[in-house]
């Protein structure tokens, strides 16, 4: 058990449609340090409680009946910007995690979280820091930047592009690459589309401009 740093009692609101998870959280948190002011089973209940009670931290599920957790987070971020938010979800999909993170939450936790990780996340949130489950750190690391011309085309496409520019016919390319002419034709079509070329001349120009050969 990690020894908690002394400080002001943190007021928590737990929002989850599964009572068993709420109960689990209750067991994991020392009530002397973390005052769980209330619990809600959906977004509507949560918003009602927020109007009546003062809350410092919101532990929230994303998948709930009625309003999705992500929308609840949006509302709370707008109405109560001071409330810290921790997402506790089953979902480890990159897009879901990314979406939530973009809203300015203080942590994204998978539900298989252990007590020490939970407390760690809460404490980081209290100090307005960010926490994310270990499994998800790779996701955020992936760069979602625009692709370079070379990345725009696949390896096979670059191969074919070279042959096209060297004035090889589909038949010749097919023979060279051990693929069918139809496949070459599809690749050719996709290459023209991706390079926004209308003609072979245009394609050659693109190839030279981007130093693809």
């Amino acid at each position: 058990m990690i020894k908690q740093e002394l400080g002001q009692t943190l007021k928590l609101l737990i929002v989850d449609d599964h009572q068993i998870l709420i109960d689990g959280l209750f067991n994991m948190l020392d009530q002397s340090y973390y005052q769980i002011v209330d619990q809600a089973h959906n977004a509507g209940e949560a918003l009602e409680i927020l109007e009546q009670k003062e809350v410092d931290l919101l532990v929230c599920d994303l998948e709930m009946p009625g309003m999705p957790g992500i929308d609840l987070i949006r509302i709370i971020k707008e109405r109560y910007p001071h409330i810290k938010i921790l997402v506790l979800s089953m979902h480890d999909e990159k897009s879901i995690v990314t979406e939530a993170v973009k809203l300015g939450i203080n942590g994204y936790l998978l539900k298989n979280i252990s007590q020490d990780k939970l407390l760690q996340a809460i404490e980081r949130a209290r100090h307005n820091k960010f926490y994310i489950s270990e499994e998800l750190t790779d996701i955020l690391a992936e760069n979602i930047s625009t692709k370079s011309p070379k990345e725009l085309l696949t390896v096979r496409e670059l191969e074919i592009l070279k042959l096209i520019v060297n004035e090889h016919t589909n038949k010749e390319i097919a023979k060279t690459l051990f693929i069918s002419e139809r496949t070459v034709e599809s690749h050719r079509k996709n290459i023209f589309r991706k390079t926004n070329s209308k003609s072979l001349v245009g394609l050659i120009k693109y190839t030279i401009d981007n130093k693809l050969i």
Binding site: K94, S95, E135, L152, T154, V155, F178, K189, N190
Partner: protein, 638 residues
């Protein structure tokens, strides 16, 4: 019987007229008329103009019974020539001839006109004597028209002229005519009076034929009065006087009335004997009209004497003659009709024009009628045509409908098979998930339970052992949690509906790559916007299935997935570096995975192509999916 007698009494009137009016030129047509005409014609060339007029008149006269046209034609020639040479006598004489010709053909109006023309000329000529002929003819004409008063007036004029000229022969003739007229008027007493006066004059002249005439006429007058004794006495006297006469007709006539008298008296034997004598006479001179009358009378007597066979025979003869006469009459009537046509030429022409007009109208009518008929036919044809068309169309539509039904049925069957393969694929998926849950989650939980049971509740055992179990259990729990997330994702990725195809593909690839057995790369172009839901779901499922197949069978190290969006389609290309295979095997093996791919592509009208060869490294699957939503798709949200 009474009617028959009345009829018989009427017939003698003709005989009286033709035989009794002696002044009238003989109406008998000589049998050698044609020969005479030829002879007359041959005389024409040598004759002077006056003689020519007379010859024309003679020829006209010869034609009077056979051909009115010819008669009129020659009469006209005579008329023209007489007018040319300005011979009034000949002109009036010609008018007289033509008047008689028209009279004989029943054209009384024309006859009257010519008689009056003749009379006009004669009045100018102051030739009173020549009036007689015309007066006489006019009288006969009027009597024919039943205008007895006028007829009598003209006959009396004749008599007055003859009396003033003291021409006893003609006086007798005129008196005879007046008597005959009274006979026609059924005035027997007056008839008897005039015939008696005529006889008185004629007895002084000793012309036995004329005397015979008068006696016969007196006898008939007596018969009419019912004085048969006087009648027979006079008949016998008449026959005596007529013994040597050339005029066989008057003799026959005497026998005829004698026979009727006997018949009326009931003395049929004598009547028959007398009538047969008369008959033989008229048969000799070929007077069919008279023969007929005799036959009829004889037949009547045979009937009275109950000799029906003879009566029948006579009646047959009578009928035959009747037919002959009727035919002659018909010819005459036709000629008369022509005459009427000639004389009323202008009227006829007008009438003709009217008729023409009527014809035109009729023609128009008939044309209209035929047009109507044509229209009707056209309507019928059109209706028939339409009926055919409708029937044809109906049959064709029915055929089409059947074909459509068949097609629908086939499509339905096909969809059924599609749905069936989807269901099968789903079953296969469930099977896989059940196995996954059983294998990973189930075994994980079993291991967890074992771990927990190995824990020492009293914490008495080796502290390190408990610690190992504790940490191992947490690992197992993490594995179970991860597996459940994977199963949940594979069952129904939440982000597919909420965020679309690209995030879910990225997620899927990330999960596959996390396993580390195979490296999958995704290359997308122009996928900023969402696609139709069914395209997203089915593309995802197809790709999922293709990747499953690659991982299961190909031993590939790398997989490249490309999604390229075009204006109206998306191109999906999956390339792997695994071992190639025989497409036929794929189809033959009837794998649920492949069926699932085909069915899902059908739902979104996707076309696929597999570039692979057994033993060759590398397989490319190319799929084109149209983006038009014009075709109905069976939506599926699995």
């Amino acid at each position: 019987m009474h009617y028959r007698f009345t009829l018989l009494r009427k017939i003698p009137r003709y005989l009286v007229i033709f035989c009794g009016f002696w002044m009238l030129l003989s109406s008998f047509q000589p049998p050698d008329s044609t020969r005479r005409i030829t002879k007359l014609k041959s005389l024409l060339k040598k004759a002077d103009q006056k003689t020519q007029v007379r010859i024309y008149n003679r020829i006209s006269w010869q034609y009077r019974n056979s051909s009115l046209d010819k008669s009129i034609e020659y009469g006209q020639k005579a008329l023209d020539l007489a007018t040319e040479i300005e011979d009034d006598t000949l002109l009036s004489e010609t008018y007289d001839y033509m008047g008689i010709a028209y009279y004989l053909h029943g054209n009384y109006q024309q006859s009257l006109k010519y008689y009056l023309e003749s009379l006009l000329i004669k009045e100018q000529m102051q030739d009173t004597l020549s009036f007689v002929l015309t007066y006489n003819n006019l009288a006969i004409l009027y009597s024919r028209l039943n205008n007895y008063g006028e007829a009598l007036r003209y006959f009396r004029k004749c008599y007055q002229i003859h009396e003033s000229n003291e021409n006893k022969t003609q006086m007798g003739g005129s008196l005879n005519n007046i008597g005959s007229l009274y006979s026609d008027m059924d005035n027997a007493d007056s008839a008897l009076f005039y015939h008696q006066k005529a006889l008185d004059i004629r007895l002084t002249l000793s012309d036995s034929t004329d005397i015979g005439y008068s006696l016969k006429n007196m006898a008939n007058a007596y018969r009419m009065k019912g004085n048969y004794e006087a009648a027979f006495e006079n008949f016998k006297k008449a026959l005596k006087y007529l013994k040597n006469t050339d005029d066989q007709m008057v003799v026959a006539n005497t026998y005829y009335y004698m026979g009727i008298s006997y018949s009326e008296k009931g003395d049929y034997d004598r009547a028959l004997r007398v009538l047969k004598k008369g008959l033989s006479l008229v048969e000799q001179i070929e007077q069919n009209l008279s023969v007929r009358n005799f036959k009829k009378e004889i037949a009547a007597i045979h009937y009275q004497t109950h000799d029906y066979k003879k009566a029948y025979q006579e009646l047959l003869d009578f009928a035959e003659l009747q037919d002959q006469i009727y035919n002659n009459e018909s010819i005459k009537r036709i000629a008369e009709m022509r005459t009427i046509y000639e004389t009323e030429k202008k009227e006829e022409q007008i009438e003709l024009l009217a008729q023409e007009q009527a014809k035109q109208e009729k023609k128009i009518k008939s044309q209209t009628l035929s047009l109507k008929r044509t229209q009707t036919q056209l309507i019928i044809l059109t209706l028939a045509f339409l009926t055919t068309i409708i029937t044809f169309m109906f049959l064709r539509n029915r055929n089409r409908y059947r074909q459509k039904e068949l097609l629908n049925y086939q499509q339905l069957r096909y969809r059924e098979s599609q749905i069936q393969s989807i269901i099968n694929a789903q079953e296969k998926e469930r099977e896989r998930f059940a196995r996954d849950i059983h294998d990973s989650v189930g075994s994980g939980l079993s291991a967890l339970k074992m771990n927990i049971s190995n824990l020492d509740p009293d914490n008495k055992g080796i502290r390190s052992k408990n610690k190992d179990i504790y940490s191992n259990s947490l690992d197992i729990l993490d594995d179970i949690h991860k597996e459940i997330r994977n199963i949940s994702f594979n069952l129904k990725p939440k982000i597919l509906a909420s965020q679309g195809l690209l995030p879910v593909l990225e997620e899927m690839i990330r999960r596959i790559n996390t396993i580390g057995k195979i490296n999958v790369s995704l290359n997308v172009f122009d996928f900023e916007t969402r696609l139709p839901t069914d395209v997203e779901i089915n593309t995802y499922r197809v790709l999922q299935e293709i990747l499953n197949n690659i991982m299961k069978h190909s031993n590939a190290q790398h997989v490249s997935i490309q999604l390229t969006k075009y204006e109206s389609e998306i191109n999906l290309m999956v390339e792997d570096d695994g071992t190639g295979f025989d497409i036929q095997d794929l189809k033959k093996n009837n794998s649920y995975g492949w069926d699932n791919i085909i069915s899902r592509l059908e739902l979104i009208n996707g076309k696929h192509e597999i570039d692979t060869m057994p033993g060759r490294k590398g397989t490319t699957v190319i799929i084109d999916i149209p983006l038009q939503n014009d075709k109905t798709r069976i939506g599926t949200n699995t």
